[in-house]
Symmetry: C2
């Protein structure tokens, strides 16, 4: 089972995902392949699989990716084979993914539960971005514009979850995941007898 | 919010719905209009709204029904106005509905969470229908054929819930309803600011 979670910068997506993973050991975070060089403390196979551009491009050619994207000149992608191996082990795979990646995953026909985390209001998001306090007003305006660009594509998602308080948001996403276990597309694969009724 | 629940005869749908309504006082069962005469103990406005065929046909003409159907020569239908009044009061409306009704509700564009309760296996359903013990083999065969006819249309539903044990099924449907509160189509209505981002 695949769970795709997006949310604009500042909405608190990373914290929500971290809490969710603590709560649910049956959910594993997807590890992407990237051509970006590792940063200090980043571990190959845990944070990313670090590979060369040449190998990455071969993987694109052979259809190995569930989705891939270019960010600041570096390539990032999710290996379909890696995801399927986790699914066979009985895990659900969670994707921390942006709108670009979601559009691709859908275009490649990946089943999954698509969730967008949204702020209570635009003003609220502005405040959250502002209180980081690390940006000048121009950078802030850019980050806000990027956030709007993410939110603009809400129609791509099955569920919209307002992140008001962390605890509630995590519980709500957990119940969405519970429900998705019974979604037609998830259940029907195992029900040969039902598909056989004609 | 509208919750449509279907399930073939013998699957235990009525018991599941009864338990769900006990558990969740914010959910009300939809009361249909019918031209069928009331049976002993049936109350107008509780079990059904009993009306004449003439009035029923006028209601069809004026587009008053969310769905309507003919069963054994009698007309049955759900008034859109009645449903909307319950929704304004803050209740969720649960429809105990067959595949014919679901097809109509969808054709009329009703939003809602569509759930089909299914048996663990076809053999299991056969046993459940059989242990009622009130039918001869011909009636049993007919009931089984009707059940298959319902199950055949599983693609109409968002969720398929296997009724193995009552308690689990009720809990699973409750979590589906919880999740549906965050479904894009439910949430977006109240999010003017999100729809305004262009």
């Amino acid at each position: 089972m695949r769970i795709f979670i997006s949310g604009p910068s500042g909405v608190g997506k990373s914290t929500v995902i971290r809490e969710l993973l603590t709560l649910r050991p049956d959910i594993v975070l997807s590890v992407s392949y990237t051509t970006r060089p590792p940063r200090p403390l980043e571990k190959d196979g845990k944070d990313y699989f670090f590979i060369s551009r040449e190998i990455f491009e071969e993987m694109i050619q052979s259809g190995a990716f569930l989705e891939w994207a270019t960010v600041h000149g570096n390539l990032y992608g999710t290996s379909l084979q890696w995801v399927e191996a986790r699914e066979r082990e009985g895990s659900h795979v969670l994707f921390d993914i942006d709108v670009q990646g979601v559009r691709q995953a859908k275009a490649y026909g990946s089943p999954g539960c698509y969730i967008l985390i949204i702020p209570p209001t635009m003003d609220d998001l502005k405040k959250r971005l502002d209180t980081r306090g690390t940006e000048d007003s121009q950078t802030l305006a850019l980050r806000l514009e990027n956030a709007k660009e993410e939110l603009r594509h809400w129609e791509l998602y099955d569920y919209l979850v307002i992140n008001d308080t962390l605890e509630t948001t995590v519980r709500e996403i957990a119940s969405i995941i519970e429900a998705y276990r019974h979604a037609r597309e998830v259940v029907i694969g195992g029900l040969t007898w039902l598909r056989a009724i004609v």
